[in-house]
């Protein structure tokens, strides 16, 4: 606990309106969207209103050696914002202004607390979009998604957050404020700083402003589903679509367990006998091109014994999308604890990974459903368990260990989009090796030698 004098000084620094100290308020910042993690209350929550205030807070915290946890909407799935060592939660909920929309340069400048969906709403009248769209677009912030390098449903064709951040303002742990990048399409001045801070999960610096790249909104699109009676057929269809040189905007998969659960939850007429369902959307600027791609996809689905269904109207399209959007909630409604994993494999190993997940679920006698972004190999094996059942929770942990082990064996990665945070820190060495861990620590320690920025996340500190 911080002593009274320090708290008073902090309050004076940021103003009474921008600080929360009550127990109840602190409790509400003790968790994020990640299940099955320890909770911890911060000593204090500060809601800065501009980057100068952020700078002042960082300098103050450094002087008094208080940890700082930057926080956007707290929707991350890796325990990235739990203030595990107490200290200051720095919440960007109030820094939510869109500073500039520039249709001529296809850019927007935003404060970190701007919600992704709000940016999209602001640029829509110009016929533009900001493509990264995690399932949480309506709530997640630009700062949080940059720090997490979020992906989403359009990742296959349009890329992830790192492809859309052109510049930043960052407050470093030493209190310096740096700005780099900007509206120029090309910029090779010095190191690629944006890449350094993207995906850094709040451990290297605090993002106080972002310049985002926008693109013209695609004007035509077609949505369809393919239902398959074997996982292999579905996996081959994914590979086949890419081999046919079609890059759909969305290429999503659901396994049998997910299909059945979604159907029970939402009653939208999904093929519950199928082993796997693909949701495919192609889009583009010309009707001809979209039509040609649609035909190619249809051919591949048929070649792989898939049952095809195309959306002819917006309403039908919405229905198909509802199915995908309902995947997680439907699964989540089955029990009180949802463990949503993020194992990702090279595209060619999708089928293998799906089969492996199914077997792991059986082996540990768990309710395990898999859905995800098949097109980019990013799967979300999801385990439903009862937090009050110790035995089941233990089996769940074993299953998760095994899922990651298998993913790495397939040449995959621990995380396709949700980051490492607290949840996957212990597996990090398995993917990066000791030298990799040392590199991470070298970078961390040169920027934040005292481990004051988001300690206990991502970077496994040296054992002391």
């Amino acid at each position: 606990m911080l002593d009274k004098e320090i708290m008073e000084k902090l309050a004076a620094l940021v103003g009474q309106d921008n600080i929360l100290t009550g127990k109840m308020d602190r409790l509400t910042y003790s968790y994020d969207a990640t299940a099955d993690l320890p909770r911890q209350m911060p000593d204090v929550v500060v809601l800065p209103t501009d980057s100068n205030m952020v700078q002042a807070i960082v300098r103050f915290a450094r002087k008094h050696r208080i940890p700082i946890y930057p926080r956007g909407a707290g929707t991350n799935l890796s325990g990235g914002t739990v203030p595990i060592k107490q200290g200051i939660v720095l919440s960007f909920q109030k820094m939510n202004r869109i500073l500039d929309v520039d249709p001529a340069n296809l850019t927007a400048v935003v404060q970190p607390g701007v919600v992704i969906g709000a940016l999209n709403a602001a640029v829509a009248p110009h016929g533009l979009i900001y493509p990264p769209d995690p399932g949480t677009v309506a709530t997640a912030t630009m700062g949080g998604s940059a720090a997490e390098n979020s992906g989403g449903l359009r990742g296959l064709k349009y890329g992830v957050t790192k492809n859309y951040i052109m510049g930043m303002e960052v407050v470093l742990a030493n209190g310096d404020k740096v700005r780099f990048g900007g509206k120029t399409v090309k910029n090779v001045t010095a190191y690629d700083f944006a890449t350094l801070f993207i995906g850094s999960e709040g451990t290297l610096g605090i993002i106080t402003e972002l310049t985002a790249k926008l693109i013209p909104a695609p004007r035509f699109r077609r949505t369809m589903t393919g239902a398959f009676s074997t996982l292999a057929d579905a996996g081959n269809a994914v590979a086949g679509i890419i081999a046919a040189q079609v890059i759909p905007a969305t290429l999503e998969i659901m396994d049998r367990m997910t299909i059945q659960t979604v159907e029970n939850f939402a009653h939208i007429g999904l093929p519950t006998e199928a082993e796997a369902l693909l949701l495919i959307e192609v889009d583009g600027m010309s009707a001809d091109l979209v039509q040609a791609e649609t035909e190619a996809v249809i051919q591949v689905v048929r070649d792989n014994h898939g049952d095809l269904c195309t959306a002819e109207t917006d309403q039908e399209r919405d229905q198909l999308w509802t199915a995908r959007r309902n995947a997680l909630p439907a699964l989540a409604s089955l029990n009180n604890t949802v463990i949503l994993e993020d194992a990702t494999v090279p595209r060619s190993r999708i089928t293998d990974m799906l089969v492996a997940c199914e077997q792991i679920g059986k082996k540990y006698n768990l309710a395990l459903g898999t859905f995800g972004h098949a097109g980019d190999g990013n799967l979300h094996p999801t385990i439903l368990c009862d937090k009050h059942n110790k035995d089941e929770m233990a089996r769940m942990h074993q299953a998760v260990d095994e899922i990651f082990q298998v993913a790495l064996e397939f040449g995959g990665t621990l995380s396709g989009e949700h980051g490492i945070g607290m949840a996957k820190m212990r597996y990090l060495g398995n993917e990066l090796g000791e030298s990799g861990l040392n590199l991470i620590r070298t970078i961390k320690e040169s920027l934040d030698p005292d481990y004051l920025l988001n300690p206990g996340k991502m970077v496994p500190a040296h054992e002391v």
Binding site: L20, G22, K23, M24, D25, L27, T28, Y29, S30, Y31, D32, A33, T34, A35, V45, L47, A73, G74, T75, S91, Q93, K94, N96, V115, G117, T136, A138, T139, A140, N326, L328, P329, A332, S333, N336, V338
Partner: protein, 444 residues
């Protein structure tokens, strides 16, 4: 065993015991989807305002990590409009209204009602003025309020306005005038028609009875214009929702039982409401409140199935006679939370509006966002409510409509105030009054 018997009825409901709500709390996966829609969070931008945090606080109270009498917990429990927007957006279907009501009821059990009331109005430094504004009979209101003829609204007189500024009773405040003769005294207990096709009982609720009796009369007129016999039992009382949301469970149960008796006595097959909160009470709250009552529980369940909003009754149960009188107006429609989110009524009022010759219907960009009324919320949290109301008024403005139609009198009051403060003085009308007006104009 076909009938629900005492044995199968629970001993207690979540209104009586907070722990019963635990399963509901477990459903929340902290995904944060509720942040996108919670109007209170939209204004306050801190976690304690968001649904998921309110769930976490209820959990902490149950686990003994926070105390029920912690003033912060108290404040949080009442910093909610119970608008149910979060529930509509919740992927795992957390029934948040139940959590909120269970928590409030627990607060009342722990601390007693007088203390509670004191706390509710702790922000109101002048409870007498508040009382005067809300409850003084019509004969007295001219002492406190000056009337404004053109808008049919009244505002507080200046000495009161000064004192009441902090809670929104400033000179700008617009309220509907209290009517000298309440609706139920203006109409006979049964309004008969020559060839009745059905007979319905009309639950007026307090606001149609005292504040908007003319809308109540319009509702009756519309029904009779469709050959429906209307019973308006005199002995009915308040639906109880205003008390329910303050956790006074005993009182609501008494009100509910009385209402059930009175409506049983009408012998009607349908119960009609013109207010989302009243309708929601009959459709959901009564059966939940009386779940452990062997006598009234089954009756409440029966009435739940027989209750219809006037718009649903007109469009789904009978097919209303298409109105012929022209009303040349641009009209928009506000989805009241309880009407849309409790009763599931959204399409029907729009259908009715579109039937009226001359009406140009224009949708707001977000017609179903809360207007910020939330019963007494507007009084206890005036600043937040007012910011919410301003957003609504701006959305109404952008449609260019001259009339904003609504299906809930509580919203009418809040909208009336806000279109005057922040809007373009749009007319605020119950949709049923537009329909009644169209029927009336047929005759000319």
């Amino acid at each position: 065993m076909t009938e629900t018997t005492t044995a199968t009825r629970p001993n207690k409901t979540y209104h009586d015991e907070l722990a019963i709500i635990r399963a509901e709390l477990d459903k929340c996966m902290k995904c944060g989807n509720c942040m996108a829609v919670c109007p209170v969070y939209g204004v306050e931008r801190k976690e304690a305002a968001v649904t998921r945090s309110k769930v976490a606080v209820a959990q902490a109270v149950l686990d003994g990590d926070l105390e029920l009498d912690d003033p912060e917990v108290y404040e949080m429990a009442f910093n909610c409009l119970v608008c149910k927007s979060c529930m509509i957006n919740c992927p795992t279907k957390v029934n948040f209204d139940r959590i909120m009501l269970a928590l409030r009821a627990a607060l009342v059990r722990k601390n007693g009602l007088p203390w509670l009331k004191k706390m509710i109005f702790s922000t109101l430094r002048h409870p007498k003025l508040f009382d005067a504004g809300m409850r003084l009979g019509a004969t007295m209101q001219s002492l406190v309020f000056r009337s404004e003829k053109e808008s049919r609204a009244i505002s507080p007189r200046s000495p009161f306005a000064l004192a009441g500024g902090a809670i929104g009773f400033d000179a700008e405040r617009k309220l509907p005038g209290l009517n000298s003769t309440p609706l139920r005294e203006q109409v006979p207990e049964v309004v008969r028609v020559t060839n009745p096709v059905a007979s319905v009982a009309f639950f007026t609720g307090d606001s149609l009875n005292y504040f908007y009796p003319e809308a109540g009369r319009d509702l009756i007129e519309v029904l009779t214009a469709n050959n429906i016999e209307v019973h308006i039992p005199k002995g009915q009382n308040c639906c109880g929702v205003p008390v329910l949301v303050h956790g006074d469970i005993d009182t609501v149960r008494t009100l509910a039982r009385n209402n059930i008796d009175i409506f049983e006595a009408t012998g009607c097959d349908y119960l009609i409401t013109g207010c989302g909160s009243c309708g929601g009470a009959w459709q959901h709250d009564y059966s939940e409140l009386l779940a452990n009552d062997p006598v009234y529980g089954p009756k409440a369940e029966k009435w739940a199935k027989q209750t219809y909003d006037i718009s649903t009754f007109l469009t789904r149960i009978i097919r209303l006679r298409a109105p012929q009188g022209r009303i040349d107006k641009v009209v928009t429609y506000h989805d009241s939370c309880h009407l849309k989110k409790s009763m599931g009524v959204a399409v029907e009022p729009r259908e009715i509006l579109r039937l009226i010759p001359g009406v140009t219907f224009r949708e707001m960009s977000a017609p179903d966002t809360c207007c910020g009324s939330g019963g007494s919320y507007v009084l206890t949290h005036f600043q937040t409510a007012s910011t919410i109301g301003r957003k609504k008024a701006e959305d109404i403005d952008r449609t260019g409509a001259e009339t904003v139609s609504v299906g809930c009198p509580a919203c009418m009051m809040q909208l009336l105030d806000n279109v005057h403060r922040f809007g373009a003085y749009q007319e605020v009308t119950h949709f049923i009054s537009l329909l009644a007006e169209s029927y009336r104009r047929e005759k000319n």
